[in-house]
Each structure stands twice: as structure tokens, then as C-alpha cells.
Amino acid sequence: MKLIFEKSVPGRGMDYLPQCDVEAVALPAGLVRDVAPRLPELSETDISRHYTELNKNVHGVNCGFYPLGSCTMKYNPRIDEEMAALPGFTGVHPLAPAHTTAGCREVLDTARTLLCEITGMDDMTFQPAAGAHGEFTGVLLIKQYHEARGDSKRNKIIVPDSAHGTNPATAAMCGYTIVNIPSAPNGCVDLEALKKVLGEDTAGLMLTNPNTVGIFDENILEITRLVHEAGGLCYYDGANLNAVMGVVRPGDMGFDCIHLNLHKTFATPHGGGGPGSGAVGCKARLAAYLPGSAMMDGAGHIQVRSFAGNFLVVVKAMTYILSLGREGIPEAAQNAVLNANYLQAKIKGTFEPAFDRICMHEFVLDLSRFKKETGVSALDVAKTLIDYGMHPPTMYFPLIVHEALMLEPTETESRDTLDWAAEVFRKLYDLAHEDPAYMHDSPHNAQIGRPDEVRAARNPVLRWKG
């Protein structure tokens, strides 16, 4: 389809503003831009149709099954959107006098109380805008803690090799040397490998539990105990909290600080890549190091973005938690786990799970043998799923499984959908044996064929030039 700039007609456009009712003041001569920006000139009809056309070329959770592993693509309740759009929230200036913003602070306090109870933490900040941003904040808590104690030799953060790339990237942004430890054959932390690297230079460990292959590490108490004994702190990557919320708490596992992805676990929509909210919780001994805003809270805090974070996202998450409540939160986790296990059981016999056992909220298929047999890769399978209207699972992650497809159905899918999805996987398994060439060329009925990513990277075209 055409770009919005290609639909632009000089002189066309809307007048949303009245005539200026005060004397016009011009910029000083040296400050005036020489040419106007070439922004589109369109009627409102043009704009409405352009974005409606774009919207048709998007697959949202509302369109169909979205088992994108580690992303928790659950249904996003509409009431949460309605609450966040209340003018009583959207119209509030972040620097308005405190006595006029009591409602906003009540939202933050309520969300903090609920989430501290769910995670077993003592305090929480909502300033970080995303998961990776929360990781950065959390590891800075660890850094400040050691520094405040004059413990300056702790310069290493331990990260399992199965971790998401953000973990090592975050530790590097916080000035730490990264120590990668190999996983045990079951995908969990190798205790011996951990013991070997722990020492007086250990600042902390970054871990997600359930881990990135969808397994709850049964040694978790031993792991956090070992790290604490060495004088380090334990950071919980909350990416997989949806499996265990209301069932077991990171604080009770021995973690000292944690980030949450409110846009995953607590049902706020992803918006095509943001805005999210990477709330960070911590135990009392770290609370003094939480970030603040220079404008809202004065000096003396670290700060990871302006003001109080993505406030409206917190409104949505709070609304969600209040809706589900005491019973609904664990029920969501339990059914996320049930749905994953059910789908795994239904697919078994065709594609092989990387770890053949009860999983948590997600599971990984290992297609390496299948690829040897058929020549069809995980990528080919993923691309063929698109023709069936299913968003592909996460591909080639975690790195410790070759030809990985990671599926996370979430609790908001019905058994019918899971049965249908398993049926599609079976079909593709058979198709790969019959007509692998067809799958190499997939998708066949999508918005576009496979894009030439090599060309995009070699000759970057990153804007319309006209």
C-alpha cells in the first residue's frame, strides 16, 4: 500500500485550530527554520482510511491465537482501557500540586500494595517504562547497595546461558562484568557451575523462574541461599511471573529485587511494541535506592526516566488485578499452566518437546531432528503458521535449544482454540514430510511474502525520501 506521504496533496488539510486571538509573535530571525518539514497534507477522510488500511495489516490478540513464547499475549480487557482513558487521569499534569492529584497517587499506592503482596516484596517503583528498563533499575539497586556498604570489589553479575539477551546487556549497562554459567541438561541452573563462580566479587545473580525453557527450578531456595552466602543479591526477571502469580512468590524464593512486565502478566496491551511498564519491586533493605524524579521527589535518587513512569499503564494493570482479585490471580496462573501442558500433550507425537515433562506456562519444541528428516526449519514452520491465521511462536529462543519454537498459549484461550492449534501443528508436521518446498516458500497468503532482510540491512532505507 501507499505511504501516507504518497497520498499527500499540497494545500489539502484540516483546520483544527481557531484563528490566533492575540498578536502574532515571530521567532527571532536567526532561529527560523529555512524550509517547512514535509509532513503529510491530507483530509481527515484520507487519514481515517489510511490508518484503517494499516490496521487491517496487523495481527492483534483480538484477531486470533498468539502463542508467542515469553511474551504472555493474553487477552487485554477493554474495561482496563476505558479506565485509563478517564479524563480524571489523562488530564492530570505530572507537576500539578499534590492536593489535586490524590487520585493518581491512590492508583500508584494501590497498585504498589497489590503487587508487593503478589511478589512478596516490600516496596515498588513504577518509573521504569519496560522490562529491560526495569532490569536496569533493579541492577542499579544492587549496585547502590554494595556501594553504600563500601563493598567495592563486587564487580560481577552471574547470568545463565539460557537468559534473555537483555540480562547480560543490562548488567553491562550497570558497569558489571558478566559471568555466563551453563545450564544443567534439564535447562535449570547447574548448582556446581554456580558454586564455582560465586565469590567475593559476586554482585548478584539474574534469574527468571520459571526459567526460559518453561521449567520451575526446584533448587531455587538452594540457589538464592548460595548467592546470599557469597554476599551477592538475587534479581528476579519477572518475564515469566504469569505461571506462578498467586501460587508462589519471588520474595519467598529468596529474591531481593524483581521487575514485572505489567504489559505481559497484568494484561495491559503491548501496542505493537510499547508502551509497557517495568515496575521494580524490592525488599526493605533496598527500598532507599529506588528511583525518583528530580521534579516530583527532589534530589538524591537515581532516576531512569522523567516523572512517575507510564502512569496510564499502571491504571490498566491495577484495574486488572482488582477485577481478578484474591481468587482470580492464582486461577489465571493455574490455567496458563494448564493450557500450556494441554497444548504440549496434544502436539506430542509430532513435534518433540525439548524437555518432555510437565511444563509451566510455556514449553519449547525442539525441531532439530525434524529438520534433519524433512529439511524444514523452525522458521519454515513459523512462516506457514501465518497462513493459518496463527501468530508464530517465539523462534530460535532460548539459544540453548536448536531449532526452537517456544509456545505460550496463556490462560485466556479456550480448549477449542488449543485443539485447533494442535490440529494445525499436526497438519504442518505431515505437510513437511509431503511437500517441504511449499513450506520453504511460506507464507503464501499473507500481507507480504518473506521479506529480503539481507537487502534491508545492506542498503538501509529507513525513511521515505520522495
Binding site: Y51, V58, V92, R326, P460
Partner: protein, 438 residues
């Protein structure tokens, strides 16, 4: 209580059987009993949609929304056309994930490509990323882009937004690098002081234009000084001002960043907002975050993809220059949509009306006894006054539904946008006049 789980009780029992377990507890067999939360969560019972709507609406009602806003300081109350509110609420845009699968995400990818183009047009730069969290983090990420083995120090103007300064300081603290603040003189960056601070270890200089006090900086001269020292030049600009103001590129900037909130995002107690980031082509591969590129598909048709991914954390891990994954995609879509709806003429109108109304307000206020401008330089849509009885003035305005300027040091930082009418401004001035007993 609300539940979004479709399966019925009977279905769940059958599904457990298919999995080969008796109960949910069996699914959690790896969870040690000592930490299993048998007691349940100590949070309230769930609410129906009607109940939760009442409860959250009651919270919103505890806030005071001012019909007239004369306060900015990093969050600006511009008029948002109706269509700019409706389109981002479409469920597909709203509920999709990051567009990893280009074959089913062309709509989001194209919207980002269009946003990137608008940002390049506005800033005059060659390349833009798909946005970052907000203006403060954009400045911090830009500073990180500029540091290399030899040059580690960042200089930032003391007239930049305090939240930006503090955020950049925190990112520098992370990597153990130094941030030095350039002193301010008469509300603007002190060029003589800057000259003294430009040492061989300075990686970049960050300037905000217009600055926190609304003042226009000598952006060209500061850029020339930075470059003369072999340092890179980062300008943080108000995107609304850029509709009419000299571009960062024309001022010599290597990287342009800024807070994108004025581009169609409501105040929302500080977020979600949007950080824009654009650079010269030379720095393209150092830009952090998502970038959308144009290519062709297997049929030779134009298509869009997430491009230059080898820069990013999922590939480079600890060697990536940033850990950022997400952008603020829906905010970028909103900003692109806002710029399209307003068009170049509408944007210029909004910018110049904001500036004109701020000047009208300043002129009228300064007619009152004891009121004067604190700084003498040219300004955009914000200015600082010295004003007696500041606290009483602000309370009186508040009582009449007007959010007055923000107390900053011994002055008040006022802001006017195109949204306020002359009548509202006159009313505000009359209230101030009454308090001052003039």
C-alpha cells in the same frame, strides 16, 4: 469477580486428565511445599466489571483536572484532534506485540516507518529510530552512543530539564562515567564556562532548545564549540517548536532527541510519553532500539521489516550499547498520526500560537506592579517571572480552575499553548492583579 478464562469447570477437569494429572497442585510439582502459597494472597476479592468501574472512576474523581493549564515544564497541554484519540484505540494496533513477524505486521511496521520519516523531517536528521521511552532516556541513550574508549565524559547544560539531567546522570553512573553540568547564566547556558570545560575526554555536549526556562539557546555557537573540541553535539528539542524553529541539523547537531509528548499525547500524570531519537547517517549503526527499514518481499513488492538488528541486545548480549527492546510503538503511531492530522501548516500554527500566547501572557503579567521577566533572552512558549506573593497567586488561580505556572527557585515558570484563549489569559491576569492588589 471478573475472569477472562474461557474454559468451563468441566473442560478444565478433562484437560487435566489429558495432561495426566489430578489437580492443579500436580502441575506445580517442582514448587517446594515450603514456599507454596497455601494461605492464598492477602488482596481483596475480585470485582465485577461494574464494581471495578465504580471503584477506579472514584479514584479518577479525586484528581482535579484544570480547564486552563498555564504550566508546562516538560509536559504540555496542546489540543489533540479527535481522530488522534480514536485511531490508536483500534484493537489491532492496541493489542499486537513488537512486529517480529513482518508478514503479519506490515501495518505497524509501516506506521513506524512513517513516524521515522516525520521525525527526520522535523529534525532535519538522516535517520530516526522507532522511538524510546521518553525524552530523558533519549538524551541518556544519545550520550551513551557518543562515548568511546578515549572519550568518556558527557557535558549537559544546567538549563536542561532537571529530570533529563538526573536520568543522564543515572545512566552515566551505571557505566561509571562522568557527567558534568555546564553552568547557567541569565537563564541560558554559559558559553564561557563551556569553553573551559571542553577537554579532550569530552565525548558529547547536550543542549536543550528551547531550554527548561523557555529560553532560546545559542545553539549554533555551542555546536561549533563542541565540534571544535572533537566532541559530538546532542540537541534535545521541543518537537512542537521544531515546526517553525531552526532544525538541530542546521545547528550542527549530530544527534537530535526530545520529548515527543506534545505530539498528540495527553498529560496523563507523566506517561506514557515518547522519546524521539534521530542522528546523522554516520551514526546510524550506533542508534539504539528498534529501527524499521524498507525492503522487498519474495514477490518483489515493497515491504517493511525491523532492520539493523545486529546492533541489539538479543544478538549482541553484553556487547550491545543498550539493553532496550521495546519502543513506545503506540505512542509513535500517535505522534505520526498527530503530525499527519495537523499537517505542516497546522503544526506551525500550533507552535506559533503557543509562542504568541505565552508572549501575550508575559506582557500582560509584566504590566502588574512587582512583576517582571527573570531572564532577558528570547523565549518560546515558556518564561520565568519574578512575582510577589507567588503562593497566594497560584492558590487564587487554582480556585478559579486555572493551573498556574510552576514555582522554580525564586520565580514562576509559566507556559501557554494554542489551547488557551485570550479570554482565559485575561481572566488569569485579572486574578493575579487582584491578589497583588493592583
Amino acid at each position: 469477580m471478573a475472569s477472562y478464562i474461557p474454559s468451563t469447570r468441566d473442560e478444565r477437569l478433562e484437560m487435566l486428565k489429558t495432561v495426566g494429572v489430578e489437580s492443579y497442585r500436580d502441575l506445580y510439582r517442582d514448587v517446594p511445599q515450603e514456599m507454596y502459597l497455601d494461605r492464598g494472597l492477602n488482596i481483596p476479592a475480585g470485582l465485577s466489571e461494574l464494581e471495578v468501574s465504580r471503584k477506579v472512576s472514584a479514584m479518577a474523581a479525586k484528581n482535579r483536572v484544570f480547564p486552563t493549564v498555564l504550566r508546562g515544564a516538560g509536559a504540555y497541554d496542546h489540543y489533540i484532534p479527535s481522530i488522534v484519540k480514536y485511531i490508536p484505540a483500534k484493537e489491532e494496533f492496541l493489542t499486537a506485540y513488537t512486529p517480529y513477524q513482518a508478514e503479519m505486521s506490515q501495518g505497524i511496521l509501516q506506521s513506524i516507518f512513517e513516524y521515522q520519516t516525520c521525525i527526520c523531517e522535523l529534525t532535519g536528521m538522516d535517520v530516526s529510530n522507532a522511538s524510546v521511552y521518553d525524552g530523558a532516556t533519549a538524551a541518556a541513550e544519545a550520550a551513551a552512543m557518543c562515548r568511546d574508549r578515549k572519550r568518556r565524559v558527557t557535558l549537559i547544560s544546567g538549563a536542561a530539564h532537571p529530570d533529563t539531567v538526573n536520568t543522564v546522570r543515572t545512566y552515566c553512573y551505571g557505566t561509571g562515567d562522568e557527567l558534568r553540568i555546564i553552568p547557567v547564566k541569565d537563564g541560558r547556558t554559559d558559553l564561557d564556562a563551556l569553553k573551559e570545560m571542553l577537554k579532550p575526554d569530552v565525548a558529547s555536549v547536550i543542549l536543550q532548545q528551547p531550554n527548561f526556562y523557555g529560553q532560546f539557546e545559542e545553539a549554533d555557537a555551542i555546536g561549533a564549540l563542541a565540534h571544535g573540541n572533537g566532541s559530538l553535539y546532542i540537541m534535545s528539542c521541543n518537537p512542537m517548536a521544531l515546526a517553525i524553529m531552526k532544525t538541530p541539523r542546521a545547528c550542527g547537531a549530530d544527534i537530535a532527541v526530545g520529548e515527543g509528548q506534545p505530539l498528540g499525547m495527553p498529560l496523563s500524570y507523566g506517561g506514557p510519553y515518547l522519546g524521539f531519537m534521530a542522528a546523522t547517517e554516520k551514526l546510524m549503526r550506533k542508534l539504539p532500539g528498534r529501527i524499521v527499514g524498507e525492503t522487498v518481499d519474495s514477490r518483489g513488492e515493497r515491504a517493511y521489516v525491523l532492520s539493523l538488528q545486529a546492533r541489539e541486545q538479543h544478538i549482541r548480549r553484553e556487547k550491545a550499547s543498550s539493553n532496550i527492546c521495546s519502543n513506545q510503538a503506540l505512542c509513535a503511531l500517535t505522534a505520526g498520526l498527530y503530525m499527519a492530522a495537523m499537517g505542516p501548516g497546522g503544526m506551525a500554527q500550533a507552535a506559533s500560537q503557543s509562542m504568541s500566547k505565552a508572549h501575550y501572557l508575559a506582557t500582560e503579567l509584566c504590566k502588574l506592579p512587582g512583576v517582571s521577566l527573570k531572564y532577558t533572552g528570547a523565549y518560546f512558549h515558556e518564561f520565568v517571572t519574578v512575582l510577589p506573593k507567588a503562593e497566594e497567586v497560584l492558590s487564587a488561580l487554582e480556585a478559579q480552575g486555572i493551573l498556574g505556572g510552576l514555582p522554580v527557585g525564586d520565580g514562576i515558570l509559566w507556559c501557554a499553548t494554542e489551547k488557551v484563549s485570550r479570554e482565559e489569559l485575561d481572566r488569569a491576569v485579572a486574578i493575579v492583579k487582584e491578589v497583588l492588589g493592583a
